[in-house]
Amino acid sequence: MPCYFAIIGAKDNPIYEAEFTSPQLNQFPPELKELNPFILHASLDIVEDLQWQTHPQAGGNTSTSGGFLRSRHSASNSNCYLGKIDHFYGLAITAYLSYGNMKFVMIHSSNSNNGAPVQIEDGPVKSFYQEVHELYVKTLMNPFYKLNDPITSPVFDNRVRALAKRYLTR
């Protein structure tokens, strides 16, 4: 399935964006493509709400704000991967937070055009986020990289795309 992935910095500025598509599968329709950044930014409110919850994915408790949108999870103690946090007309949005509160957000689109909601496989998505997190930490180890600057390294780009190929677009 096509995905739109972005890393959002502390000032809600994108520091990296990428679209993962593959030839066999659907692409984002052109009219929707331009909307992606907006959809993604709209979900940042939910991310920031979940950011400070002690158990952001402990259960699908509908009473807490944003909770009804979350995917159910095994009660793991980790609070980096937030799981599915939002949806928008059949698009699913997942998020992940790094320790420095960088927001890793992704829009998943379904393969079919019938508008059926996208099923997120948490396992590979989570692994993808963790691997990108590692790449991000490596970026940060570069003394010439400043926090919240766009990541322009082609190596980073290549590696993220290779990871996407491995975990997401199969």
């Binding site: 331009e34 980790s78 420095g100 590692e134 180890m141 926090l147 082609p154």
Partner: protein
């Protein structure tokens, strides 16, 4: 006219994504094109920060104390030559430490997520090999594969301070901090106590407080973890520990508010 006009992220790709040149914020997100090579040769063979392993055992964790002291001495001298006043020296040291703190927060937390029993544990980076086969090159030294669960992000003031007092201190100075105290007078004030600070142990007390470097580290960590605060160092000589330093952390009121809401 400026060359870098920020285009709307249009559906028509302005240039063919033939060989990746990295993310360009003026163009927007780029598609992975069907025939794009997954990893071009040029980018894998170059020495790059992405080829290094993040694992603690990838490098010798031991640093000579003399080297550490001389490096710090040079840092202070440089700050001193560039500044006009004492507070400016301290500000420069503080700023140097701040950038270190930002990086330490991510690095140390990430490292402590790696469970010691994972399969990559005894295999630090294989980056030195000359020829890297496109896709397998980085799969092997990826630590994230061995992580089942990431370490919890620290959400409370006490948690993040314990992280500093424990993990960060032992990474930087080889031992945990001597004490972590909450101020009895002010709600937002915490104190990290070090009886014999390693960095300044060879520096006779002057009017310049060299521990501001460590203040910068602490503030960098707390700031990037969204705990805006102000950290100062005070030297409090005691009978047995005449170099004792107290790092006073004052959180901004919004941190307290948030914690009151979420608890």
């Amino acid at each position: 006219m400026s060359q870098k006009i920020i285009n709307p992220s249009t559906s028509v790709a302005p240039a063919k994504h033939s060989d990746s040149t990295g993310y360009d914020y003026t163009i927007g997100p780029q598609q992975t094109l069907p025939n794009a090579p997954s990893l071009s040769k040029a980018t894998t063979s170059l020495p790059s920060v992405y080829n290094e392993s993040l694992h603690a055992s990838a490098r010798n964790p031991q640093v000579s104390l003399a080297a550490y002291a001389f490096l710090f001495q040079e840092l202070v001298t440089q700050a001193r030559n560039a500044s006009k006043s004492v507070s400016e020296i301290e500000l420069r040291l503080h700023r140097n430490g701040y950038h270190l703190g930002i990086r330490l927060l991510e690095l140390l937390n990430f490292r402590s997520s790696v469970s010691p029993g994972s399969k990559n544990f005894f295999k630090p980076g294989n980056s030195s090999q000359g020829v890297n086969v496109a896709s397998s090159a980085f799969q092997e030294d990826s630590l994230a594969q061995g992580i089942a669960n990431m370490k919890r992000r620290d959400l409370r003031m006490v948690e993040i301070l314990q992280f500093i007092h424990g993990t960060v201190w032992s990474y930087l100075f080889g031992r945990v901090g001597d004490d972590l105290v909450k101020s009895s007078e002010r709600e937002n004030e915490f104190m990290i106590i070090d009886n014999s600070p390693l960095l300044t142990r060879f520096i006779s007390s002057t009017n310049v407080q060299c521990d501001f470097f460590v203040c910068g580290i602490i503030e960098g960590i707390l700031d990037s973890a969204s705990f805006p605060c102000n950290v100062t160092a005070h030297s409090v000589p005691e009978q047995n520990f005449d170099q004792k330093v107290v790092f006073v952390v004052r959180f901004e009121p919004q941190v307290l508010e948030r914690e009151a809401l979420r608890s």
